[in-house]
Symmetry: C2
Subunit: 376 residues, 2 copies
């Protein structure tokens, strides 16, 4: 935690400070920022970082020994009265503070402080603002993270190739066997993942939430592979690849549509950067969906265009989303995200997915751009 | 979910309805009430149960197939606009609704709806009240749960006895070996637990958060055993037992204090019931702490007097707590909780813990009442 960088943003945004508050694990965003996400915490914890001067951690005495050192002072409480007194003293003299709060809950990922605590803070005379501009500091990658991402992306490509080779050699292999083969390659490369790769054959690909099973591939069917992994201390890469065994025209046409949506979304970001502007997450989603709708695939869209990448595969940063939520956050340099338009028809689904990293001069696609369904 | 019972409480409390809202797993209380706690949900879900008429579930189309049937209608949304429209229609015409909200976050376990969503609801002209009176319906036990609790309690006593017998036969056994022996007995009885039993020898007992290690028992030291378990579909029992190898007068005196605190807390609940009153959780904590403070042990109290018992060892119901939070909820018939005063001195800690179930006529202690430290 680089306090002076946070304080610079506090000054820019006109915030008197940032209150990171969690009851147990209720605010995973705050715990990640503070490096406490791995701890088993069950009590109220507050960390106040003022625009000037030292931060203060307010934690329960029984949990104090669990917590690593954090910049600034530490103050413990035993009782609920002690918590309230500590909070009042820490916040005294401040007017406008940032919090994991989003008006209307519009970005629910970041709206984490409960309504009762919000009322408590307002009752203390504080004005509460959303902490999203501060959180961007923790969602952007440095050079080292970008390198770790590149290595993870390269591992995904190897695992995908091994999965397809396995399927060519074993045409009767089940979804689960292809999944196991890819997971084995990822494991051998030292990559970790929260869930093993997704493999869907034929009509199973029409369900974005499919769980690989005992189905084998039949002639005319598509294969949807979706893999995500990272180095143990790294950040994720996330790749989708389509193959097929003599698939028909409908699938090829649908793939051309998602490819076009993907490429226009990326081109939109590049153009905005050239014009000196950081596009908002929801704008990019609109571009991709506009392409799909224009080609008649509107009714077959099931999910947003992309998600932020971080230490979790679905990071806390800006998503390409005007569907599930309206993500109004700007796509600033240092962020990484997936671009993964998909359409899910009656008998099959297709998706293409690449990863994008934003340099100050514009987007870089860090994974292969699939141009057509790979024949098996 | 018995809709008519909930509606009876809605009428009693003057609520127009109950809005159970969760973003993914943000509101574990609502998910437990709806029987969805085991599902991997990542989107916004709302279930509105009006004072009269049918409830409505509002869920994302992509998650609809994951959800079991719930009483009432089901309405799906695809987009964030669809969610807002659905919510507005479902809530239309209602004025005062219950929510997992607690003013000031005083009971943080139940204050689960985020501040942004609270603002959204108030912006729709709704008055928001705390759902705790409704939640009590889901925290009280029927006869079947009480029987399952009794079987779990009996298993804990067997495991505790086996642990002490093992230690008598193997005086050099480590904390971890005693823990393993007790866990084995619990497993053989078909009981499950979130964490294996706690075993603390000597000075380790002074740390309520100790993790059993390689320490062996020495002359003059106390043994603190804390075990909790349940049948796979049952509710928890939770027991602490103290033993010792020729322990000194200080430990015996401290034990007499926690025993007295325990007995006076239980007597307070029994007296309130005889007077036709349901005491509040925080009142019982005050009684127990008053006893300890009166005997000079005030500085050595580290935790509340007890917690609610349910499908989780720390249930969502009223706790005996005026320390960490001020639990103002009434201890109504059908609830069960632990009474477990403890004091943690420089070189050792002592605690006694029993379970209490509330019948309409008063409390029943369902586990053995330890009267003195068991000699080894």
């Amino acid at each position: 935690m680089d306090v002076s960088r946070v304080q610079a943003v506090l000054r820019e945004e006109g915030f008197d400070g940032w209150l990171l508050y969690s009851f147990g694990r209720s605010n995973p965003v705050a715990l990640q920022v503070l490096g406490l996400a791995h701890l088993h915490l069950t009590r109220r914890l507050a960390y106040f970082l003022p625009q000037e001067g030292e931060p203060t951690l307010l934690c329960h005495a029984i949990e104090a020994s669990l917590l690593p050192p954090l910049p600034g002072k530490r103050r413990t409480y035993h009782t609920w009265q002690g918590f309230l007194e500590g909070l009042a003293q820490v916040l005294e003299g401040h007017g406008r503070i940032a919090l994991e709060y989003v008006p209307g809950g519009r970005i629910p990922y970041l709206s984490r402080v409960d309504g009762g605590t919000l009322d408590l803070l307002r009752g203390m005379g504080l004005e509460v603002a959303s902490s999203w501009p501060l959180l961007l500091l923790f969602q952007t990658w440095d050079e080292e993270k970008l390198k770790a991402h590149r290595r993870a992306a390269s591992g995904l490509v190897q695992a995908k190739d091994a999965g397809l080779a396995f399927l060519r050699e074993n045409p009767k292999a089940t979804e689960r066997e292809v999944q196991a083969r890819m997971a084995e390659v990822l494991g051998r490369l030292g990559l970790v993942f929260d869930h093993p790769p997704m493999v869907a054959f034929g009509k199973n690909s029409a369900n974005p939430h499919h769980t690989p099973g005992e189905k084998g591939l039949e002639a005319g069917e598509v294969v949807l592979l979706d893999l995500w992994a990272k180095e143990p201390d790294g950040v994720y890469a996330d790749l989708t690849w389509m193959a097929g065994l003599g698939v028909g025209e409908a699938a090829h046409r649908a793939f051309q549509a998602v490819r076009e949506a993907r490429d226009q979304a990326i081109a939109f970001v590049a153009r905005a950067y050239r014009e000196g502007r950081h596009p908002r997450g929801y704008e990019v989603d609109r571009v991709a969906r506009g392409v799909l709708e224009g080609m008649g695939y509107g009714p077959y869209i099931r999910h947003r265009t992309g998600h932020n990448l971080g230490e979790e595969v679905h990071g806390f940063g800006p998503h390409l989303d005007d569907l599930e939520t309206q993500d109004f956050r700007p796509l600033v340099p240092g962020l990484a995200f997936t671009v993964e338009p998909g359409v899910y028809l009656e008998g099959f689904g297709v998706r293409t997915e690449v990863n994008v990293y934003l340099h100050p001069e514009g987007p870089e696609v860090t994974t292969p751009l699939q141009e057509a369904i790979t024949p098996l």
